[in-house]
């Protein structure tokens, strides 16, 4: 029997039918401890999905009250006001007001407040009071408030706000029982809640609410006797124009190292594991289509999902630690001017930096950006950053075509080209972001208006839970789409099989071969021969697969890429090789990235836009490179 069944049975045995389940929704300012409260209430009984039609995450969980009643808890995006300013906040407002299509209105609204920072949440509490739905106020972080010697008259506060007030410590699970009792008590009033008559408050109404909040605060709260001075002291270093930037660079460098280098052994391990598994299966099974499907399609496909996991876990560990500590907002403050110049939000630096390792964790990390447009712009440019999967391709071509010589006596020409490719990716990302801002989303640039929360030591359990949740979301949602794309690519490269007695590699006879041959005329102006064109199709699996794919079409077997390099050096002109490099700077040669964009934006529109603009850029860049090189005699 699962716990809910058990609870229902107990309630039934106690005489009396089990009472109908209660629906509660959590509302609160950002950084009030809402996520911690959600975890404290529901433990691991949670489910993350998306709201219909929007990219906003829907987190729901449930608990069983001591009397056996089931309470489902909906965690709503953090907000300062019911007057929504972002898609996330629209969800919060509509859920609270019961306007959200496909959602039953909550019986009780639970307002989570940071007890040490009540000013803004007081106004939200008044807004909720005026809406008239049953509500409970949880004064969270009461441990910190007590340490600071802050005194809150909870009884008076409850009268002023006409809602019960409980004190809680979400991270220590203190006060949760009392909160549950109050939720149950308030749920009884939900039938008599007034109809929804809410309208947007005007500036004058906001001022009035502020004055009312101020009066209540004066009446109920004595200022802290030992206010937090730690945050101020730390800020004078971390926000210092010189020291602050220094610390930021160290943090960024560590994060980059972690995602780039620390994840590598784990990724290699996972790659080797899946290759070994593929080899074992290959030996066990007779040759044929089924073997190919299992080893080349499914095992390789699952492997290509799992290989991202170390990077995702490490990246989110950093993000969640920095977020919980309170540093994320500071970093955004320090970088706002630079990122803002390209039309990006200060917080976009995390996704972009991560994208140097891999665009997949980078795109998943765009969640740190609240504003939808800022987030979409960042998603669109993230794949332009030079990810680690491009390195094998760059290495192959550069070592085969660029002579090992020194420039100005000190710099290696090969290294210089390598650096140039990185720079091209970075600069084009900033330019594209700027263009998107200027051309498509002219007008309403969001103001940068952000609370800098007090520093807090992150709670290890909370961090672990959130990191695991991210990993799970990745495997469940991004994983399925990546896997299906991998199987599709396998299918294209395998069917139809080569006819009996065929010469040349089998891929040449497959759909992938046909597509490659069909697009070759279009690619001729950029110097691609049919082998290169065919290799682009399996190369959609991941950028580094292009190396293997070229090996396949040129029928150069073996793991040693220098053989392949030598063979390419024979068959390609320098101009074609340079055009191929330029192509790989820009082209969307990664089905997984497109799949993740689809998942994160909840529509095919954005991956299609991304595919088109990146292909266009790649084509133009390769065309310029190829034609220039030919004109200079490298054709």
């Amino acid at each position: 029997m699962t716990p809910p069944d058990l609870a229902t049975a107990v309630a039934a045995a106690a005489g009396g039918a089990p009472a109908a389940p209660i629906r509660a929704a959590l509302v609160g300012n950002p950084n009030s401890g809402k996520t911690a409260m959600f975890n404290a209430l529901t433990g691991s009984r949670q489910k993350v999905a998306n709201y219909a039609g929007v990219t906003v995450e829907r987190k729901e969980g449930h608990l069983i009250a001591p009397d056996g009643r089931r309470i489902s808890i909906l965690d709503l995006p953090g907000t300062y006001s019911l007057r929504a300013r972002s898609p996330d906040e629209v969800v919060t407002r509509d859920a609270v007001l019961g306007r959200l299509a496909g959602e039953t209105p909550p019986d009780v609204v639970v307002l989570i407040a940071d007890a040490t920072n009540l000013r803004l949440v007081m106004r939200l509490a008044l807004e909720l009071r005026d809406v008239g739905r049953p509500a409970v106020l949880a004064l969270n972080m009461i441990d910190i408030a007590t340490r600071q010697g802050l005194e809150i008259d909870a009884t008076r506060l409850a009268i002023e706000l006409s809602m019960p007030v409980v004190t809680t410590v979400a991270t220590r699970k203190r006060g949760i029982d009392e909160l549950v009792i109050q939720i149950e008590a308030q749920a009884a009033n939900s039938a008599t809640a007034p109809a929804d008559t809410w309208t947007e408050p005007s500036a004058a109404a906001l001022r009035a609410l502020h004055r009312e909040a101020e009066r209540i605060l004066k009446a109920c709260v004595l200022p802290p006797r030992r206010p937090d001075t730690f945050t101020g002291k730390l800020d004078s270093v971390l926000l210092h124009p010189v020291a602050g930037i220094g610390v930021l660079l160290v943090v960024l460098f560590l994060m980059f190292q972690a995602v780039f280098a620390w994840a590598a052994p784990l990724m290699d391990l996972s790659n080797a594991g899946f290759e070994a598994l593929g080899a074992v299966m290959g030996n066990l099974m007779p040759d044929g289509l089924l073997k190919s499907l299992i080893t080349d399609g499914i095992i390789a496909g699952v492997g290509s999902v799992v290989v991202f996991l170390p990077q995702i876990v490490i990246l989110f560990l950093f993000i969640i630690l920095l977020e919980d500590f309170g540093y994320m907002a500071r970093a955004a403050f320090l970088l706002d001017k630079i990122m803002g110049g390209a039309g990006l939000h200060g917080r976009a630096f995390i996704p972009l930096l991560s994208s140097f390792a891999c665009a997949i964790p980078g795109i998943m990390a765009t969640r740190v950006i609240d504003n939808k447009r800022d987030r979409l712009t960042t998603i669109l440019v993230a794949p332009l950053m030079t990810c680690s999967a491009r390195i094998p391709v760059y290495t192959l071509i550069i070592s085969a075509f660029i002579p090992r010589q020194q420039v100005w006596g000190v710099l290696s020409l090969q290294g210089l080209i390598f650096f140039g490719l990185y720079a091209a990716g970075l600069i084009s990302a900033l330019v594209v972001a700027w263009l998107v801002r200027k051309v498509f989303w002219r007008g309403a640039a969001e103001p940068f208006l952000m609370e800098l929360p007090a520093y807090k030591i992150p709670d290890p359990m909370n961090v672990a839970r959130n990191v695991l949740q991210r990993a799970q979301i990745f495997l469940q949602r991004a994983g399925t789409i990546i896997l299906s794309m991998m199987i599709l690519i396998w299918f294209l490269c395998t069917f139809p099989g080569a006819p009996a007695g065929a010469v040349g590699p089998a891929i040449d006879y497959s759909f992938a071969g046909m597509i490659g041959h069909a697009i070759q005329p279009v690619l001729a102006p950029i110097g691609f021969n049919w082998q290169m064109s065919v290799a682009l199709i399996p190369g959609m699996a991941a950028r580094e697969v292009a190396v293997g794919a070229l090996g396949t079409v040129y029928a150069v077997a073996g793991a040693d890429t220098s053989v392949l390099g030598a063979s390419l050096a024979h068959q390609w002109s320098l101009a074609s090789a340079l055009a191929f490099l330029a192509w790989y700077v820009f082209a969307p040669q990664c089905a997984s990235t497109l799949g993740v964009v689809k998942r994160e934006t909840n529509s095919w529109r954005w991956p299609i836009i991304m595919f088109c603009y990146m292909t266009g850029l790649a084509y133009v860049a390769s065309l310029i490179v190829y034609q220039t090189a030919v004109a200079m005699g490298a054709g």
């Binding site: 300062y80 006001s81 007057r83 300013r85 920072n117 000013r119 803004l120 106004r123 408050p201 005007s202 500036a203 004058a204 906001l206 001022r207 502020h210 101020e214 200022p223 206010p227 945050t231 101020g232 800020d235 004078s236 926000l239 210092h240 124009p241 010189v242 602050g244 930037i245 907002a329 955004a332 403050f333 320090l334 706002d336 001017k337 630079i338 803002g340 002219r442 007008g443 309403a444 640039a445 969001e446 103001p447 940068f448 208006l449 952000m450 609370e451 800098l452």
Partner: protein, 108 residues
């Protein structure tokens, strides 16, 4: 609300005409005072409509009578700024702070 009333609202002492208000956007590090008025008359170029910005500022706690002090400035062009607003810390860009008028402390 007309400007005179708004100033009167914040219980400032002294004759009205001697009060010089300084925009938060022009303050330097260490600048402090009380907010005398918040209204974004002029829309920010490329930004939000004025009335929307005003409401956002109000929602963040930039209200008449609030205590304000500039704690930190960005390193390029001293932008954005980090202010202490009553007992919380808020970061914003100078261009969005234009409409926040402050009555500076006497020492300044």
């Amino acid at each position: 609300m007309d400007p005179v009333r708004r100033i009167a609202d914040t219980d400032l002492d002294g004759p009205l005409e001697t009060i010089t208000l300084v925009s938060l956007a022009d303050g330097r590090r260490g600048f402090s005072g009380y907010i005398a008025s918040v209204d974004a008359h002029a829309p920010v170029p490329g930004g939000l409509a004025a009335h929307e910005l005003e409401r956002r500022l109000l929602e963040m706690g930039f209200v008449e009578g609030a205590r304000i002090e500039i704690l930190h400035e960005g390193f390029i062009g001293r932008d954005p700024i980090c202010v202490k607003l009553d007992d919380m810390r808020v970061a914003l860009r100078r261009r969005d702070a234009r409409g926040v008028m402050v009555r500076p402390d006497a020492a300044q």
